[in-house]
Subunit: 140 residues, 2 copies
DNA sequence: GCGCTAATTGAGACTTAGTATCAGTACTCT
DNA sequence: AGAGTACTGATACTAAGTCTCAATTAGCGC
């Protein structure tokens, strides 16, 4: 989906400079599968400062190239995003693979919820945890 | 819903000792409205160590007296729980009030989701953010 | 190619949330 | 009273993330 070239183009389109640090972070991120922490990436881009990795990953998140994945324990992890825009995840608790859901399956209930609670609903978090098909079979 | 007496009874029922530190934490927690952080409580129970406040709030969470509320930015906060067991929240981003939903409105979709993704779904997070009726009116 | 300047960087200090260690205190039980 | 266990608070530590600031540099105009 995303590759180095397309991400560089997007950065250029937004007038961000293409620096060695940014290239290193983008490359490291694209090489990951499943979800990962910022410090995972820090460990894979020697010479690039931790603050820069945080800054770059924040930038990529804001641009929709990375998304934050909420884990079962409430901690946040990151992954390369397939869908830009609002979406949700199914995270395998065994292999850390992540499946993105393309439709927001919470949007249906928003109207009812607003009506029954009086809240004006502006956002939500929705993430699922479980075992992916591969992991389910591998244990028998 | 919960008061000091009922919480003390529950602690006693589970063979936990009723100590001054625990009483102080429980009292401080019951005095809060909306959601709060552990360190909010630390600041309100002078003389009680931070580790003890963490331990006590964890204990209260495990017993269903407190629940963790996921905020918009992905951070966790706490609140006195009305419902024990699995449930979700609507958090007012303006006044921090929290409304608990008594039914899990995600459970309906679990079957479909398992079927369409091959995942065996074991858990989920679902939290809503918005403006409560009071806050909506107060700004005009 | 060269210079200018705003954008970017990395070191490091700092914050917030939470865990681990451990010696000392205080119950509980007999 | 003595033994054993639960609990406590100080303190050190980890992880995630922000802030500051002086030094560097990418990319633009010439
Ligand atoms: Mn995603
Ligand atoms: Mn709750
Ligand atoms: Zn959604
Ligand atoms: Zn639910």
């Amino acid at each position: 989906m995303h590759n180095l070239k397309s991400i560089v183009q997007r950065l250029e389109a937004r007038k961000y400079r293409i620096t060695p640090a940014r290239l290193a972070v983008v490359t490291a991120v694209l090489e990951r599968s499943g979800h990962f922490s910022v410090d995972d990436i820090v460990g894979r881009v020697p010479g690039v400062g931790r603050a820069t990795v945080f800054r770059t990953m924040k930038l990529l998140s804001e641009m929709g190239m990375l998304c934050r994945v909420l884990l079962e324990d409430g901690s946040l992890s990151y992954r390369v995003s397939r869908h830009q825009g609002h979406h949700h995840h199914l995270v395998c608790v065994s292999c850390a693979s992540v499946q993105e859901l393309d439709a927001c399956i919470a949007s249906d209930m928003l109207g009812d919820l607003a009506r029954s609670t009086g809240f004006q609903i502006e956002g939500h978090w929705l993430e699922f945890f479980g075992r992916c098909a591969a992991c389910r079979n591998s244990v028998a």
